[in-house]
Assembly symmetry: C2
Homo-oligomer: 239 residues x 2
């Protein structure tokens, strides 16, 4: 693991740029941003390197500068439950700032990444002096709550088919031509959907047989998005 290091002053302006772009700090004054940039620590992560593990005391919270970080729990049975994959510009672990206990989950880089570590003490201090920053933190945590609530929903969508349809619709909508490039292996997607790679394969196969999509390697092309949507609605409606 390469040692984290304080950025040289030269880099401060670049850092301020990064900070300004993210949801969490986007409305702050340049002065405040400079203060934050002053105590932030840049940390590169290799693929599959852990940023923190469940139970460790919290160093602070994090902001993804590049790459992607998988936040997950491992259940007592050893299964990994993905909570969320955070990408460039997103912040996480704000909850660890305010809690006396350690991190409640694990964080691991999906690919080579760099994160900004925002140490606990100075950011809490700043929050105390900048009420609008406090508001932002509240807002950010509240959106994380919503993500979790959404996950709950997903888990209670019974069918694997329904969950997959849901996932496909959500992702195909934002892609031109319905072309979805899988970020990782199919086993990973299966894990996100809470199923096994075999079942995922079967379910995809069924949709393929119905000419709704084609799969080749790590690329899924959705041919008939409306059909998927009505199918999803039908699945939700019945039962």
């Amino acid at each position: 693991m390469p040692a984290p290091h304080r950025p040289a002053d030269l880099k401060l302006t670049g850092l301020v740029g990064t900070l300004r772009c993210c949801q969490l700090f986007s409305g702050l004054s340049g002065e405040d941003l400079a203060v934050i940039a002053g105590f932030v620590v840049v940390q590169p992560l290799a693929k599959d390197e852990y940023l923190f593990r469940e139970g460790e005391p919290s160093r602070g919270c994090y902001l993804v500068q590049s790459g992607a970080v998988n936040v997950h729990r491992v259940s007592a049975t050893g299964k990994e439950q993905v909570i969320h994959v955070f990408r460039s510009g997103e912040s996480f672990a704000e909850a660890a700032l305010a809690a006396p206990t350690g991190y409640p989950a694990n964080a691991r880089a999906v690919e080579p990444s760099t994160v900004l570590v925002i140490p606990k003490v100075p950011i809490l201090d700043l929050i105390g002096r900048r009420p609008d920053l406090a508001m932002r933190m509240l807002g950010s945590m509240s959106s994380h709550l919503r993500v979790l609530v959404g996950m709950l929903d997903d888990l209670t969508l019974k069918d694997v088919e329904t969950r997959l349809l849901n996932w496909l619709v959500k992702h195909a909508a934002s892609r031109p031509g319905g072309r979805i490039q899988l970020p990782g292996t199919k086993r990973v997607l299966a894990a996100e959907l809470g199923t096994s790679s075999e079942t995922l394969s079967r379910t995809l196969g069924r949709l393929r047989d119905q000419r709704l999509l084609t799969v080749s390697g790590k690329v899924i092309v959705v041919h008939d998005l409306p059909a998927l949507q009505t199918m999803l609605r039908r699945n939700l409606g019945e039962n």
Copy 2:
């Protein structure tokens, strides 16, 4: 629905007492508490009355004074997924303060209850002026995040038996003599465990046959807590 009303000044001191007792406000000065008590609204709820529904714009956040409030989502299939049952002294819906969107869930009284409505604008204003209050809100939301993460865990605990054991152990530990009085009907407990009343009945029946507990009406008496615990651990360990 009886109209909510502002408490008379006579009641202010009582209110301050309630506020002081709760996690969220427990460390604040009497002065701040008085300010809060000044804008809080007392709202009684009949059994099964809804406090708010998913999507409604947020009035503010809430503090349970007496009774119990079930916060839940209803999935697209119409099933009710319990997120948490909040009881006396607990606060909820803080997330709605900071978010522009409406409530992400529903809240309904399990039994006749009274809640304190903490309106959005004045409490946000106060948070802006009292950094330590902001910290408390952050802490509170962070613990709610943990609850949700815990729920995720529970849902991925596969067995109904395992989930039930988990529930029993958690509840029997805090009860003298392992005597657990069910708050609602067994169907409700089943829902909390994410199963049907039939399966719950069967699973309880199996534990009863093993002389680990007895069930009579709404009372479950755990006879052999350690046995339940080792059974739980066995269930988690294997597979």
